[in-house]
């Protein structure tokens, strides 16, 4: 069987997820044994403008040029994977949606801002059809490999639709709320093996919210712990601002 032709592309992002892939280590040999990488800006110079079996997209869609480019990639690719928070949920680029776009452009580009069109930040699936999601900022490598295996087998991959608390509890971490620290694990999709909390950090919600969060229940919990609503909304907006676009 011929190895599938795979290309990595990046849009508005920090390219940290590409770095994660490049840093897989020994496992990268197995990955490269199963796919034929034809374009991957961070690690090789070659480009590819023909048909693709798999396009792996990092970054969010933030301007008209990006919309055009992602549509072209989608047309060339049999399968499209969005990976990283920017691509899967909009990520930190979504914070732009909080402001007037003219103000934002002036702030960033100064007087020549009119040469830099911008538009509402979108996750990749808000612009084109996405077949697989690898959430997280950055991606969690074991999950990336699992998704790659699903793609190779032609079977779906479901991002766990339950909170990070599940994995956190299995890791027997002391709950951040017991430490009197606010944590977004209660409403954020699992799949990262509670990576941040295992290392003493809180959950920032980088994997996006579960599909059916109990908003009233979550508000009651905030009241119980005397946590102001706007503090939590600010924390949520860091990664999840694009959730509001439908």
């Amino acid at each position: 069987m011929e190895k599938p032709k795979v290309a990595f592309f990046d849009f508005a992002c920090c390219e940290g997820c590409q770095l994660q892939v490049a840093n897989i280590g020994e496992g990268l040999l197995d990955v490269l044994g199963s796919i034929d990488v034809v374009e991957f800006r961070e690690v090789m110079s070659e480009k590819w403008d023909k048909e693709l079996d798999v396009a792996i997209i990092e970054g969010s869609i933030t301007n008209p040029h990006a919309v055009e480019r992602i549509k072209q990639i989608r047309e060339r690719a049999k399968v499209l994977i969005a990976y990283g928070s920017c691509a899967t949920i909009g990520g930190v680029n979504g914070m732009k949606n909080n402001f007037s776009f003219d103000d934002i452009r002036k702030y960033v580009y100064g007087d020549s801002y009119q040469f830099f069109p911008t538009e509402i930040t979108k996750a990749v699936h808000q612009a084109v059809k996405v077949d697989y999601f690898v959430n997280g900022c950055p991606i969690y490598i074991p999950e990336f490999i699992t998704v790659l295996k699903a793609v190779l087998q032609g079977i779906p991959y479901d991002v766990p639709d339950y909170p990070v608390c599940v994995e956190c509890k299995l890791n027997e971490n002391v709950c951040m709320y017991d430490r009197e620290v606010t944590c977004l694990g209660t409403v954020t999709k699992a799949g990262c093996n509670s990576w941040c909390i295992n290392n003493g950090n809180i959950c920032y919600g980088c994997r996006g919210m579960v599909s059916n969060p109990n908003e009233k229940g979550a508000q009651d919990v905030l009241t119980k712990y005397k946590i102001p609503m706007d503090l939590v909304l600010n924390k949520m907006n860091m990664y999840n601002k694009c959730r509001e676009i439908f």
Binding site: D30, P160, Y162, P163, C165, K169, E172, V174, C175, K216
Partner: protein, 345 residues
């Protein structure tokens, strides 16, 4: 048979025990009044006084991820069953958690027997530890008869001040006593002290909820349509904490994972929870327990009603973990109280 272990010999006993097999015990490390069963090699690492650990000792009986099958599909299908186990000793298991393991033993002994569970369980030596007083206000062990030792252990320790009195219950327990040999014979004064403690406990531990155990099944028979479940709908965050920490919840999911070469792989099982959104989702996207209230209700019936018919016992051990861990403050005692009130109104 009973023996005595002087407290001054406890550290030596633990060190010797850890040399025999890997030894796990409630450890002091976690902080914020959180405890966990961890690997230990000395008595100093052990919290003799502890409230129920974050996860119960079921984590040793049902690993969170357990390989069941290894397969190769390069030429035809070649599959081989796998049983993973390791001899170990668990020290300091409270009576609630011993009851939990007894429940799991019953479940996994039903036909078809679960040889992965049974083989692993047969290699685990259990050393119980008596609770002289209530751990905290969340426990309801007396309601479900789990306050006093009721078998299910190899050795059982009771702290009587300067010494432990130890009940030797099995041959594995006896072998430990013989091999370590730091023990003294018990005399009537020791047994009297033990009886005194138990007598005191009978006065301290009372029914935590105003209902007799034998009436609980009827209460649940009357409560299927209770409004109490609707209230839980609004509060439950569906995080699955209550089931993950429950000593008798054993539901799992089975998955296949192939290597990147698509030739070999494993079938494994992982812990799963009826409280999670996708648990009861089936083909076609239909979810037959979509409401959180239905899922919470199911949890309570799986503790207090269904196992009574099937195993003639409750599958709640009164450890209080589900209440202690619930972010939304859903309390087992409160739910039972509310059900009683609603059924009387």
């Amino acid at each position: 048979m009973y023996v005595i272990l002087g407290k001054e010999r406890f550290n030596d006993f633990i060190s010797r025990l850890s040399e025999m097999r890997r030894l796990f015990a409630p450890a002091v490390l976690k902080g914020y009044n959180n405890f966990a069963f961890e690997k230990v090699t000395s008595g100093k690492e052990i919290a003799i006084k502890y409230i129920p650990t974050i996860l119960p000792p079921k984590k040793f009986f049902i690993p969170q991820r357990e390989t069941l099958l290894e397969f190769n599909i390069a030429q035809g299908i070649d599959a081989e069953a796998v049983v993973e186990y390791e001899p170990m000793t668990i020290f300091g298991v409270h009576t609630c958690d011993l009851a939990g393991i007894q429940c799991l033993n019953m479940v996994f002994s039903e036909r078809p027997k679960d040889y992965n569970y049974l083989t692993r369980g047969s290699k685990i030596v259990l050393i119980g530890l008596e609770c002289n007083e209530y751990c905290d206000e969340y426990a309801s062990c007396n309601l479900v008869n789990a306050t006093f030792p009721c078998g299910g252990y190899d050795l059982f320790f009771t702290d009587l001040g300067d010494y432990f009195v130890i009940h030797v219950n099995t041959r594995s327990g006896d072998e430990i006593i013989k091999e370590i040999g730091s023990f003294e014979k018990v005399d009537t004064s020791h047994i009297n002290e033990l009886e005194k403690l138990r007598e005191k406990k009978r006065k301290v531990f009372g029914n935590e909820v105003p209902i007799e155990g034998k009436h609980i099944p009827e209460l649940f028979d009357r409560s299927f349509g209770a409004s109490v479940w609707k209230d839980l709908e609004e509060r439950c965050l569906a995080c699955g904490n209550c089931t993950n920490v429950c000593p008798t919840c054993y539901c799992f999911d089975i998955r296949d994972e192939v290597e990147l070469n698509l030739e070999s792989g494993i079938r494994y099982r992982v812990w799963y929870s009826c409280q999670l959104e996708p648990f009861a989702k089936v083909a076609g996207g239909i979810n037959f327990r979509k409401e959180r209230s239905a899922r919470q209700k199911h949890r309570y019936y799986r503790k207090f009603r269904y196992p009574v018919d099937r195993f003639t016992r409750f599958f709640c051990t009164g450890c209080g973990r589900c209440t202690r861990t619930c972010m939304a403050g859903i309390s087992l005692k409160e739910t039972l109280n509310d059900l009683i009130k609603e059924s009387e109104s």
